[in-house]
């Protein structure tokens, strides 16, 4: 039994039965727009890399689905099915209080990742699942990296800020503020100040932002 759950941009997610377990099969499909050689390199790299990072994240105390099998040849990963709701669908429906609490929790989990030298690489609310017990699972580590560089951490949080601005524009500011508060609780005030300064620097870099003409 295999049901297509979601046809994403990068991969298709199937809900399947695997040795009596409900699992997700994540299959990175070939991309016809890219040259074959480039496409194979990218898909192979991400298929190997993603489970490694998910495992590392788990060791850092961040909930991620358990990995059951990796099929490099077919660019497929078989992992635990997490029952819950995408934070993307949920966030704007919550009360102000619950929303702030959830964002605080998300910030705390990101702090754990960064403290353990992991950046997620694609922090959006689509890649977070809240289960019935209030645990936030992180998925989609395909663009992540093992690094403790401030630059990478800054970009990680910048991506989340932008995802909030484009998708949850009604609450973006308070959500991101709550994420940063939770993050600060996890990494400490100095590290938080450094990464926030980095985010400001990233936002001024080459792109059109009003702040740039004031500063530099």
């Amino acid at each position: 039994m295999r049901v297509l759950l979601k046809k994403g941009a990068e991969a298709s997610l199937y809900l399947a039965d695997w040795h009596g377990k409900r699992v997700i099969i994540k299959k990175r499909l070939p991309k016809a727009y890219r040259p074959l050689q480039l496409d194979q390199t990218i898909r192979r790299y991400r298929t190997v890399h993603e489970p490694q990072l998910m495992h590392e994240a788990k060791r850092a105390g961040v909930p991620t689905p358990a990995i059951f099998m990796v099929d490099v040849e077919n660019a497929a990963i078989i992992m635990e099915y997490v029952e819950g709701h995408q934070v993307k669908a949920l966030l704007d429906t919550l009360s102000d209080e619950d929303r702030a609490e959830l964002c605080l929790k998300i910030g705390g989990e990101i702090a754990k990742l960064h403290r353990h030298g992991i950046v997620h690489g694609d922090l959006t609310t689509s890649n977070m699942i809240l289960n019935g017990e209030g645990t936030v699972f992180f998925v989609d580590f395909g663009l992540g990296d093992k690094t403790s560089e401030l630059e990478a951490q800054g970009i990680d949080l910048h991506l989340l800020k932008r995802a909030l601005q484009s998708t949850h524009f009604g609450h973006a500011e308070e959500c991101f503020a709550a994420v940063i508060k939770g993050y600060a609780d996890g990494v400490g005030a100095d590290a938080e100040a450094a990464v926030c300064e980095k985010i400001r620097e990233i936002e001024k870099r080459g792109r059109y932002v009003a702040e740039r003409q004031l500063g530099a």
Binding site: A9, K31, A32, Y33, T124, I155, L159, F169, R205, Y208
Partner: protein
């Protein structure tokens, strides 16, 4: 075809970078004129002050040509629109000065238009796309936007240099000379079509953003080392850069679930980029649209048409608020004329 109506007309001035353009649009979406003059640097990239000097020198000629093309007198204009930002300061100020002078002299309203919104709106007008996910790629901008609740939201963009900038700088590094009427990027496209070997180059996608500066450096270095032909490096540069922007566009498409994709901006003329985007649009059952070449690069018509949209929504820009905005982000602009689908 019946002649375009001339009862209500907007003249738009574009001068954000190397092009000085004047377009004239009526309120029904007909473009009556679209004239421009490009500053071509003797060497290197755009020098803002030199470009502004060029714009000041050609302004009266370009204006006269546009009025002649549209076959109208200045008195027949109802509104003057100008690109208020984002862009290069001296260039923007030159266009703004001409616009203010015209509006004051004719005693008609002035409308400041966001240049990026202009590229999106002319793309929609010319292709018929109603609510597209837009990839706007030019020498100064690379972003993926879509409309939601009052504004064009930015879903992805470059973290450093723009796609057109990446191709142009590489072309200059490779010693390619601009051909008359063609951007440098077009030379890269021609050479890339003859390339076969894929040179390993960085592929940097971060979420829905991409980074192109490392790719540019690596491509320039690969060329200098001399192990690969210029054609192969051009080919590899394009394949990597376009794959990256296509990947983020596809991510945004899956995320927003829009039914249309629009490619706009100067790099929209590139056939290989068009082909890549057409593939992802088809895979997501979305209709693919490309802005016609005449409206792909910076042009006055897009400013004129966006001026019409803004003006007919009740927006004007008083003289004292007509200062230029060098870094005016597209997601800071209210677009009340767009209807929520």
């Amino acid at each position: 075809m019946s002649p375009a109506r001339k009862d209500r007309l907007c003249l738009g001035i574009e001068s954000t970078a190397d092009d000085f353009g004047v377009g004239i649009a009526n309120f029904y979406g007909d473009i009556l004129a679209n004239v421009s003059s490009s500053y071509i640097p003797a060497s290197g990239g755009i020098h803002p002050r030199e470009a502004a000097r060029h714009h000041a020198e050609v302004a009266d000629q370009v204006l006269a040509q546009a009025l002649e093309k549209a076959n109208i007198k200045p008195r027949e204009l109802s509104v003057i629109a100008f690109a208020q930002g984002p862009g290069l300061g001296p260039c923007l100020r030159t266009g703004a000065t001409v616009a203010r002078a015209l509006a004051s002299y004719l005693n008609i309203p002035l409308v400041g238009v966001n240049h990026s919104v202009g590229h999106i709106e002319i793309g929609k007008l010319k292709t018929g796309a109603a609510d597209p996910l837009t990839l706007y790629a030019s020498g100064g901008n690379t972003m993926v936007t879509a409309y939601a609740v009052g504004r064009y939201r930015v879903f992805g963009e470059t973290l450093d240099i723009a796609l057109g900038n990446c191709l142009d700088v590489f072309a200059r590094e490779a010693g390619l000379k601009p051909q008359k009427g063609l951007p440098l990027g077009a030379s890269v496209e021609q050479l890339a079509a003859k390339g076969k070997v894929l040179v390993p180059l960085p592929y940097v996608v971060k979420g829905m953003d991409m980074s192109l500066s490392g790719l540019l450096t690596a491509a320039a270095t690969a060329l200098q080392k001399g192990n690969f032909s210029l054609e192969d490096v051009c080919f590899s540069l394009q394949e990597n850069a376009f794959s990256m922007v296509t990947e983020v566009t596809e991510r945004a498409l899956a995320h927003t679930e829009k039914r249309e994709v629009l490619l706009t901006g100067g790099v929209a003329a590139n056939k290989r980029l068009q082909a890549m985007l057409a593939i992802i649009a088809e895979e997501h059952d979305a209709k693919f649209n490309v802005v016609p070449q005449a409206f792909a690069t910076d042009n006055g018509a897009m400013i004129a048409w966006t001026g019409v949209l803004a003006y007919t929504s009740g927006l004007t820009t008083p003289l004292e608020e007509s200062f230029v905005k060098l870094r005016w982000r597209v997601d800071k602009v209210d677009v009340p004329w767009v209807k929520q689908p």
